[in-house]
Protein backbone atom coordinates (compact mmCIF):
# COMPACT_ATOMS: atom_id res chain seq x y z
CA UNK A 1 0.00 0.00 0.00
CA UNK A 2 1.30 3.43 -0.97
CA UNK A 3 1.03 5.75 2.04
CA UNK A 4 1.19 9.53 1.66
CA UNK A 5 2.71 11.94 4.18
CA UNK A 6 -0.55 12.10 6.12
CA UNK A 7 -0.86 8.35 6.12
CA UNK A 8 -3.74 8.11 3.63
CA UNK A 9 -3.83 5.26 1.13
CA UNK A 10 -2.94 6.99 -2.13
CA UNK A 11 -3.01 3.89 -4.29
CA UNK A 12 -5.17 4.78 -7.32
CA UNK A 13 -8.56 3.12 -7.31
CA UNK A 14 -9.24 1.11 -10.39
CA UNK A 15 -11.95 2.08 -12.86
CA UNK A 16 -13.76 4.71 -10.80
CA UNK A 17 -14.64 6.31 -14.14
CA UNK A 18 -14.64 4.83 -17.61
CA UNK A 19 -11.10 5.13 -18.93
CA UNK A 20 -10.51 8.15 -21.16
CA UNK A 21 -7.30 8.16 -23.19
CA UNK A 22 -4.96 10.95 -22.13
CA UNK A 23 -4.27 11.89 -25.75
CA UNK A 24 -7.89 12.99 -26.35
CA UNK A 25 -7.33 16.68 -25.33
CA UNK A 26 -4.29 16.76 -27.61
CA UNK A 27 -6.38 15.33 -30.44
CA UNK A 28 -9.11 17.95 -29.94
CA UNK A 29 -6.50 20.73 -29.91
CA UNK A 30 -4.93 19.26 -33.06
CA UNK A 31 -8.36 19.21 -34.73
CA UNK A 32 -8.86 22.87 -33.78
CA UNK A 33 -5.40 23.75 -35.15
CA UNK A 34 -6.09 21.87 -38.40
CA UNK A 35 -9.44 23.64 -38.72
CA UNK A 36 -7.68 27.00 -38.43
CA UNK A 37 -5.06 26.01 -41.02
CA UNK A 38 -7.84 24.73 -43.30
CA UNK A 39 -9.80 27.96 -42.90
CA UNK A 40 -6.77 30.13 -43.70
CA UNK A 41 -5.98 27.93 -46.72
CA UNK A 42 -9.59 28.13 -47.91
CA UNK A 43 -9.72 31.91 -47.58
CA UNK A 44 -6.36 32.40 -49.26
CA UNK A 45 -6.91 30.05 -52.20
CA UNK A 46 -10.70 29.98 -52.56
CA UNK A 47 -11.27 28.95 -56.16
CA UNK A 48 -14.95 29.85 -56.20
CA UNK A 49 -14.75 33.45 -57.23
CA UNK A 50 -17.40 34.70 -59.60
CA UNK A 51 -16.10 36.38 -62.74
CA UNK A 52 -18.10 39.49 -63.56
CA UNK A 53 -19.40 39.49 -67.14
CA UNK A 54 -17.12 42.32 -68.29
CA UNK A 55 -14.07 40.58 -66.81
CA UNK A 56 -15.08 37.24 -68.34
CA UNK A 57 -15.36 38.86 -71.77
CA UNK A 58 -11.94 40.49 -71.37
CA UNK A 59 -10.39 37.14 -70.34
CA UNK A 60 -12.25 35.04 -72.90
CA UNK A 61 -9.13 33.81 -74.71
CA UNK A 62 -7.32 32.78 -71.51
CA UNK A 63 -10.41 31.06 -70.12
CA UNK A 64 -10.86 28.89 -73.21
CA UNK A 65 -12.91 25.82 -72.33
CA UNK A 66 -12.35 26.20 -68.58
CA UNK A 67 -15.45 25.89 -66.43
CA UNK A 68 -16.10 28.95 -64.26
CA UNK A 69 -18.84 30.95 -62.52
CA UNK A 70 -20.12 34.02 -64.32
CA UNK A 71 -21.84 36.93 -62.55
CA UNK A 72 -24.27 39.33 -64.21
CA UNK A 73 -27.88 40.45 -64.29
CA UNK A 74 -30.43 39.26 -66.87
CA UNK A 75 -31.55 42.16 -69.05
CA UNK A 76 -35.02 40.64 -69.24
CA UNK A 77 -37.02 37.94 -67.50
CA UNK A 78 -37.23 34.54 -69.21
CA UNK A 79 -40.39 34.41 -71.33
CA UNK A 80 -41.86 31.42 -73.18
CA UNK A 81 -40.38 32.67 -76.46
CA UNK A 82 -36.89 32.16 -74.96
CA UNK A 83 -37.43 28.52 -73.97
CA UNK A 84 -36.77 25.70 -76.43
CA UNK A 85 -36.82 21.93 -76.17
CA UNK A 86 -34.18 20.20 -78.26
CA UNK A 87 -34.03 16.44 -77.96
CA UNK A 88 -34.60 15.68 -74.28
CA UNK A 89 -33.18 18.98 -73.04
CA UNK A 90 -34.85 22.26 -72.29
CA UNK A 91 -32.81 25.37 -73.12
CA UNK A 92 -33.42 28.92 -71.99
CA UNK A 93 -31.75 31.70 -73.97
CA UNK A 94 -31.15 35.09 -72.39
CA UNK A 95 -28.58 37.85 -72.05
CA UNK A 96 -26.85 39.07 -68.91
CA UNK A 97 -24.93 42.29 -68.39
CA UNK A 98 -22.39 43.75 -66.02
CA UNK A 99 -21.08 47.32 -66.23
CA UNK A 100 -22.50 47.68 -69.72
CA UNK A 101 -20.91 44.51 -71.13
CA UNK A 102 -23.35 41.90 -72.48
CA UNK A 103 -23.02 38.12 -72.55
CA UNK A 104 -25.45 35.83 -74.39
CA UNK A 105 -26.30 32.71 -72.46
CA UNK A 106 -27.64 29.30 -73.46
CA UNK A 107 -28.75 27.63 -70.27
CA UNK A 108 -29.74 23.99 -70.03
CA UNK A 109 -32.65 23.38 -67.65
CA UNK A 110 -35.38 25.53 -66.18
CA UNK A 111 -34.36 28.85 -64.58
CA UNK A 112 -35.04 29.15 -60.82
CA UNK A 113 -38.15 30.88 -59.43
CA UNK A 114 -36.34 34.11 -58.65
CA UNK A 115 -34.80 34.47 -62.10
CA UNK A 116 -35.84 37.92 -63.24
CA UNK A 117 -34.67 41.06 -64.94
CA UNK A 118 -32.10 42.92 -62.84
CA UNK A 119 -31.70 40.18 -60.20
CA UNK A 120 -28.01 39.13 -60.33
CA UNK A 121 -27.31 35.52 -61.22
CA UNK A 122 -24.26 33.29 -60.99
CA UNK A 123 -24.04 30.91 -63.94
CA UNK A 124 -21.87 27.80 -64.01
CA UNK A 125 -20.51 26.71 -67.37
CA UNK A 126 -17.97 27.63 -70.06
CA UNK A 127 -17.43 29.81 -73.10
CA UNK A 128 -18.51 28.54 -76.51
CA UNK A 129 -17.93 30.09 -79.91
CA UNK A 130 -20.05 29.30 -82.94
CA UNK A 131 -23.65 28.43 -83.65
CA UNK A 132 -26.01 28.07 -80.69
CA UNK A 133 -28.25 24.98 -80.29
CA UNK A 134 -31.22 27.04 -81.51
CA UNK A 135 -30.10 28.14 -84.95
CA UNK A 136 -31.50 31.39 -86.36
CA UNK A 137 -32.14 32.75 -82.85
CA UNK A 138 -31.12 36.35 -82.25
CA UNK A 139 -30.72 37.54 -78.64
CA UNK A 140 -32.91 40.64 -78.21
CA UNK A 141 -30.57 43.53 -77.21
CA UNK A 142 -27.87 40.88 -76.73
CA UNK A 143 -24.20 40.78 -77.77
CA UNK A 144 -24.83 38.48 -80.80
CA UNK A 145 -21.06 38.35 -81.45
CA UNK A 146 -20.72 34.61 -81.97
CA UNK A 147 -19.58 33.98 -78.39
CA UNK A 148 -22.03 32.52 -75.89
CA UNK A 149 -21.91 31.09 -72.41
CA UNK A 150 -23.07 27.48 -72.11
CA UNK A 151 -24.56 27.25 -68.60
CA UNK A 152 -25.90 24.17 -66.85
CA UNK A 153 -26.60 25.71 -63.45
CA UNK A 154 -28.15 29.03 -62.44
CA UNK A 155 -27.77 30.41 -58.92
CA UNK A 156 -29.42 33.64 -57.84
CA UNK A 157 -27.36 36.24 -55.96
CA UNK A 158 -30.15 38.17 -54.35
CA UNK A 159 -29.29 41.70 -53.24
CA UNK A 160 -29.81 43.12 -49.75
CA UNK A 161 -32.54 45.60 -50.58
CA UNK A 162 -36.02 44.87 -49.20
CA UNK A 163 -37.56 48.30 -49.77
CA UNK A 164 -40.65 48.86 -51.86
CA UNK A 165 -39.05 51.65 -53.88
CA UNK A 166 -35.73 49.97 -54.40
CA UNK A 167 -33.52 51.39 -57.10
CA UNK A 168 -33.86 49.35 -60.24
CA UNK A 169 -30.82 47.10 -60.20
CA UNK A 170 -30.55 47.43 -63.96
CA UNK A 171 -29.51 51.06 -63.46
CA UNK A 172 -26.67 50.04 -61.14
CA UNK A 173 -25.48 47.41 -63.56
CA UNK A 174 -25.37 49.79 -66.51
CA UNK A 175 -28.10 48.03 -68.42
CA UNK A 176 -30.63 49.50 -70.82
CA UNK A 177 -33.71 50.71 -68.96
Amino acid sequence: MDKGEAGIDLTPRKNIRPSFPRWIPGLVLLAVALTIVGLVWFLATNSQSFLEADQAVAEREELGQKRFQLLGSPISSAGPDQTFIIGENEYTLFTIAFDGVFVDVVSRGTPPDLFDQGVPVVLEGRWENGPIPVTEYVFPNGANDGWWFAADRILVKHDNDYRKDRIDDAENRGQPE
Partner: protein
Protein backbone atom coordinates in the same frame (compact mmCIF):
# COMPACT_ATOMS: atom_id res chain seq x y z
CA UNK B 1 -35.68 38.66 -4.50
CA UNK B 2 -34.73 34.99 -4.31
CA UNK B 3 -37.28 32.23 -4.71
CA UNK B 4 -37.76 29.96 -1.72
CA UNK B 5 -36.78 26.33 -1.54
CA UNK B 6 -40.36 25.54 -0.48
CA UNK B 7 -41.60 27.03 -3.78
CA UNK B 8 -39.28 24.71 -5.73
CA UNK B 9 -40.37 21.72 -3.63
CA UNK B 10 -44.01 22.51 -4.26
CA UNK B 11 -43.34 22.69 -7.98
CA UNK B 12 -44.25 26.39 -8.23
CA UNK B 13 -40.78 27.20 -9.53
CA UNK B 14 -38.29 25.21 -11.54
CA UNK B 15 -34.98 24.48 -9.79
CA UNK B 16 -33.05 26.91 -11.98
CA UNK B 17 -35.78 29.57 -12.08
CA UNK B 18 -35.98 32.90 -10.36
CA UNK B 19 -38.32 35.84 -10.60
CA UNK B 20 -36.20 37.32 -13.40
CA UNK B 21 -36.41 34.15 -15.53
CA UNK B 22 -40.16 34.04 -14.83
CA UNK B 23 -40.47 37.59 -16.19
CA UNK B 24 -38.32 36.76 -19.25
CA UNK B 25 -40.35 33.60 -19.83
CA UNK B 26 -43.56 35.64 -19.68
CA UNK B 27 -42.12 38.07 -22.26
CA UNK B 28 -41.26 35.11 -24.51
CA UNK B 29 -44.72 33.57 -24.12
CA UNK B 30 -46.19 36.85 -25.37
CA UNK B 31 -43.42 37.73 -27.79
CA UNK B 32 -43.14 34.53 -29.84
CA UNK B 33 -46.79 34.47 -31.01
CA UNK B 34 -46.57 38.21 -31.67
CA UNK B 35 -43.44 37.70 -33.76
CA UNK B 36 -45.10 34.89 -35.75
CA UNK B 37 -48.10 37.13 -36.34
CA UNK B 38 -45.92 39.99 -37.63
CA UNK B 39 -43.70 37.67 -39.66
CA UNK B 40 -46.54 35.83 -41.40
CA UNK B 41 -49.47 38.25 -41.42
CA UNK B 42 -48.60 41.93 -40.95
CA UNK B 43 -45.23 42.24 -42.71
CA UNK B 44 -45.34 42.54 -46.50
CA UNK B 45 -43.91 40.04 -48.93
CA UNK B 46 -40.89 41.08 -50.95
CA UNK B 47 -41.25 42.05 -54.62
CA UNK B 48 -38.52 39.64 -55.73
CA UNK B 49 -38.33 37.04 -53.00
CA UNK B 50 -42.06 36.97 -52.31
CA UNK B 51 -42.98 35.14 -49.07
CA UNK B 52 -39.55 33.55 -48.64
CA UNK B 53 -38.50 36.89 -47.12
CA UNK B 54 -40.35 35.83 -43.94
CA UNK B 55 -37.38 33.59 -43.09
CA UNK B 56 -35.32 36.74 -42.58
CA UNK B 57 -37.06 37.35 -39.22
CA UNK B 58 -35.74 34.10 -37.74
CA UNK B 59 -32.47 33.54 -39.65
CA UNK B 60 -30.87 36.95 -39.06
CA UNK B 61 -31.65 37.14 -35.29
CA UNK B 62 -30.28 33.62 -34.58
CA UNK B 63 -27.14 34.52 -36.55
CA UNK B 64 -26.70 37.75 -34.55
CA UNK B 65 -27.12 35.95 -31.23
CA UNK B 66 -24.73 33.17 -32.21
CA UNK B 67 -22.09 35.93 -32.57
CA UNK B 68 -23.18 37.43 -29.24
CA UNK B 69 -23.05 34.02 -27.51
CA UNK B 70 -19.54 33.24 -28.78
CA UNK B 71 -18.47 36.78 -27.95
CA UNK B 72 -19.61 36.23 -24.34
CA UNK B 73 -17.68 32.92 -24.36
CA UNK B 74 -14.55 34.82 -25.39
CA UNK B 75 -15.06 37.43 -22.66
CA UNK B 76 -15.73 34.68 -20.11
CA UNK B 77 -12.62 32.81 -21.26
CA UNK B 78 -10.36 35.88 -21.04
CA UNK B 79 -11.76 36.76 -17.61
CA UNK B 80 -11.29 33.16 -16.45
CA UNK B 81 -7.61 33.18 -17.45
CA UNK B 82 -7.22 36.53 -15.69
CA UNK B 83 -9.27 35.95 -12.52
CA UNK B 84 -9.34 32.13 -12.35
CA UNK B 85 -12.97 32.43 -11.28
CA UNK B 86 -15.44 29.56 -11.64
CA UNK B 87 -18.18 32.14 -12.36
CA UNK B 88 -16.47 33.22 -15.60
CA UNK B 89 -15.74 29.65 -16.66
CA UNK B 90 -19.38 28.66 -16.11
CA UNK B 91 -20.50 31.75 -18.06
CA UNK B 92 -18.20 30.91 -20.99
CA UNK B 93 -19.36 27.29 -21.06
CA UNK B 94 -23.07 28.17 -20.87
CA UNK B 95 -22.80 30.76 -23.62
CA UNK B 96 -20.81 28.43 -25.90
CA UNK B 97 -23.47 25.74 -25.65
CA UNK B 98 -26.23 28.21 -26.56
CA UNK B 99 -24.01 29.64 -29.32
CA UNK B 100 -23.60 26.17 -30.84
CA UNK B 101 -27.40 25.73 -30.87
CA UNK B 102 -27.86 29.17 -32.47
CA UNK B 103 -25.11 28.72 -35.05
CA UNK B 104 -26.53 25.30 -36.00
CA UNK B 105 -29.87 27.07 -36.47
CA UNK B 106 -28.18 29.76 -38.53
CA UNK B 107 -26.85 27.08 -40.88
CA UNK B 108 -30.15 25.18 -41.02
CA UNK B 109 -32.46 28.17 -41.52
CA UNK B 110 -29.98 29.70 -43.98
CA UNK B 111 -29.92 26.49 -45.99
CA UNK B 112 -33.73 26.33 -46.01
CA UNK B 113 -33.86 29.98 -47.10
CA UNK B 114 -31.13 29.42 -49.70
CA UNK B 115 -33.03 26.78 -51.65
CA UNK B 116 -35.92 29.00 -52.86
CA UNK B 117 -33.81 32.17 -53.20
CA UNK B 118 -30.39 31.05 -54.43
CA UNK B 119 -31.53 27.79 -56.00
CA UNK B 120 -29.15 25.76 -53.80
CA UNK B 121 -29.13 24.32 -50.28
CA UNK B 122 -25.37 24.64 -49.83
CA UNK B 123 -22.26 25.76 -51.73
CA UNK B 124 -18.94 24.35 -50.54
CA UNK B 125 -16.90 27.17 -52.06
CA UNK B 126 -18.99 29.97 -50.54
CA UNK B 127 -16.96 31.96 -47.99
CA UNK B 128 -19.88 32.99 -45.75
CA UNK B 129 -21.25 29.46 -45.58
CA UNK B 130 -17.92 27.75 -44.98
CA UNK B 131 -16.64 30.25 -42.38
CA UNK B 132 -19.95 29.91 -40.49
CA UNK B 133 -19.59 26.12 -40.57
CA UNK B 134 -16.04 26.43 -39.26
CA UNK B 135 -17.25 28.71 -36.45
CA UNK B 136 -19.86 26.10 -35.52
CA UNK B 137 -17.33 23.25 -35.61
CA UNK B 138 -14.78 25.19 -33.53
CA UNK B 139 -17.26 25.54 -30.69
CA UNK B 140 -18.42 21.94 -31.04
CA UNK B 141 -14.72 21.19 -30.45
CA UNK B 142 -14.81 23.52 -27.42
CA UNK B 143 -17.75 21.58 -25.96
CA UNK B 144 -16.07 18.25 -26.75
CA UNK B 145 -12.92 19.39 -24.95
CA UNK B 146 -15.00 20.22 -21.89
CA UNK B 147 -16.25 16.63 -21.80
CA UNK B 148 -12.73 15.26 -21.42
CA UNK B 149 -12.27 14.33 -17.74
CA UNK B 150 -9.66 16.50 -16.04
CA UNK B 151 -9.25 18.60 -12.94
CA UNK B 152 -11.76 21.48 -13.13
CA UNK B 153 -9.02 24.12 -13.33
CA UNK B 154 -7.11 22.35 -16.09
CA UNK B 155 -10.29 21.71 -18.05
CA UNK B 156 -11.37 25.35 -17.70
CA UNK B 157 -7.94 26.61 -18.81
CA UNK B 158 -7.87 24.37 -21.90
CA UNK B 159 -11.42 25.38 -22.81
CA UNK B 160 -10.66 29.08 -22.30
CA UNK B 161 -7.78 28.91 -24.80
CA UNK B 162 -9.96 27.21 -27.43
CA UNK B 163 -12.83 29.63 -26.66
CA UNK B 164 -10.58 32.62 -27.37
CA UNK B 165 -9.10 31.10 -30.54
CA UNK B 166 -12.57 30.21 -31.86
CA UNK B 167 -13.76 33.77 -31.48
CA UNK B 168 -11.11 35.10 -33.86
CA UNK B 169 -13.23 33.65 -36.68
CA UNK B 170 -16.33 35.74 -35.80
CA UNK B 171 -15.22 38.99 -37.51
CA UNK B 172 -14.13 36.92 -40.53
CA UNK B 173 -17.61 35.33 -40.73
CA UNK B 174 -19.31 38.68 -40.31
CA UNK B 175 -17.18 40.65 -42.77
CA UNK B 176 -16.74 37.84 -45.34
CA UNK B 177 -19.62 39.18 -47.46
CA UNK B 178 -17.80 42.51 -47.79
CA UNK B 179 -14.22 41.22 -48.10
CA UNK B 180 -14.96 38.44 -50.62
CA UNK B 181 -18.10 39.83 -52.28
CA UNK B 182 -17.62 37.71 -55.41
CA UNK B 183 -17.02 34.49 -53.51
CA UNK B 184 -20.40 34.26 -51.85
CA UNK B 185 -24.05 34.18 -52.83
CA UNK B 186 -24.86 35.69 -49.46
CA UNK B 187 -26.12 39.24 -49.51
CA UNK B 188 -24.41 42.06 -47.62
CA UNK B 189 -25.96 43.56 -44.50
CA UNK B 190 -29.37 45.09 -45.18
CA UNK B 191 -29.50 46.93 -41.90
CA UNK B 192 -26.25 48.87 -42.17
CA UNK B 193 -27.11 49.79 -45.75
CA UNK B 194 -30.55 51.05 -44.65
CA UNK B 195 -32.34 48.61 -46.93
CA UNK B 196 -35.07 47.60 -44.48
CA UNK B 197 -38.06 49.84 -43.88
CA UNK B 198 -41.48 50.08 -42.27
CA UNK B 199 -42.96 46.77 -41.11
CA UNK B 200 -40.07 44.75 -42.54
CA UNK B 201 -37.67 46.71 -40.32
CA UNK B 202 -40.01 46.54 -37.32
CA UNK B 203 -40.50 42.76 -37.64
CA UNK B 204 -36.75 42.25 -37.95
CA UNK B 205 -36.29 44.37 -34.80
CA UNK B 206 -39.00 42.39 -32.98
CA UNK B 207 -37.35 39.10 -34.00
CA UNK B 208 -33.98 40.32 -32.71
CA UNK B 209 -35.55 41.45 -29.43
CA UNK B 210 -37.33 38.11 -28.92
CA UNK B 211 -34.19 36.13 -29.73
CA UNK B 212 -32.28 38.39 -27.32
CA UNK B 213 -34.74 37.60 -24.55
CA UNK B 214 -34.57 33.89 -25.44
CA UNK B 215 -30.75 34.03 -25.26
CA UNK B 216 -30.88 35.73 -21.85
CA UNK B 217 -33.47 33.26 -20.51
CA UNK B 218 -31.49 30.27 -21.75
CA UNK B 219 -28.25 31.79 -20.50
CA UNK B 220 -29.50 32.25 -16.92
CA UNK B 221 -30.89 28.71 -16.77
CA UNK B 222 -27.85 27.15 -18.43
CA UNK B 223 -25.48 29.09 -16.16
CA UNK B 224 -27.28 27.75 -13.10
CA UNK B 225 -27.16 24.21 -14.48
CA UNK B 226 -23.42 24.67 -14.99
CA UNK B 227 -23.06 26.02 -11.45
CA UNK B 228 -25.01 23.07 -10.05
CA UNK B 229 -22.86 20.68 -12.08
CA UNK B 230 -19.65 22.13 -10.66
CA UNK B 231 -21.10 22.04 -7.12
CA UNK B 232 -22.09 18.44 -7.71
CA UNK B 233 -18.61 17.64 -8.94
CA UNK B 234 -17.04 19.34 -5.92
CA UNK B 235 -19.32 17.34 -3.63
CA UNK B 236 -18.07 14.21 -5.38
CA UNK B 237 -14.45 15.16 -4.67
CA UNK B 238 -15.33 15.96 -1.06
CA UNK B 239 -17.14 12.67 -0.61
CA UNK B 240 -14.22 10.73 -2.11
CA UNK B 241 -11.78 12.41 0.30
CA UNK B 242 -14.14 11.72 3.18
CA UNK B 243 -14.30 8.07 2.18
CA UNK B 244 -10.50 7.82 2.16
CA UNK B 245 -10.31 9.59 5.49
CA UNK B 246 -12.74 7.17 7.00
CA UNK B 247 -10.62 4.31 5.75
CA UNK B 248 -7.44 5.85 7.11
CA UNK B 249 -9.18 7.19 10.23
CA UNK B 250 -7.47 10.54 10.05
CA UNK B 251 -8.12 14.11 8.99
CA UNK B 252 -6.03 16.00 6.46
CA UNK B 253 -5.50 19.61 5.58
CA UNK B 254 -7.31 19.06 2.27
CA UNK B 255 -10.39 17.70 3.96
CA UNK B 256 -10.41 20.66 6.36
CA UNK B 257 -10.27 22.99 3.40
CA UNK B 258 -13.29 21.34 1.79
CA UNK B 259 -15.11 21.53 5.15
CA UNK B 260 -14.39 25.24 5.42
CA UNK B 261 -15.85 25.77 1.96
CA UNK B 262 -18.92 23.82 3.01
CA UNK B 263 -18.57 21.23 0.28
CA UNK B 264 -18.57 18.41 2.82
CA UNK B 265 -20.07 18.45 6.27
Amino acid sequence: MKIKFKEVKEGRFNATSSRSTRFLGFCLALGIPTLILFAFVFSPKDDTMEDAVRLLYIHVPVAIFSYVAFGITAIGSICYLWKQSRWWDTTAHASAEIGVIFSALTLITGSIWGRPTWNTWWEWGDVRLVTTLVMFLMFVGYLALRQVPAQPQIRAKRAAIVGIIGTINIPIVNRSVEWWENSTLHQQSSLTDGNLEDLTLFTWFLGTLILGIAYLWLMIHRFRVGWLASEHEALGYGAAIEERQAEAGIQTAIASEYREEGEIE
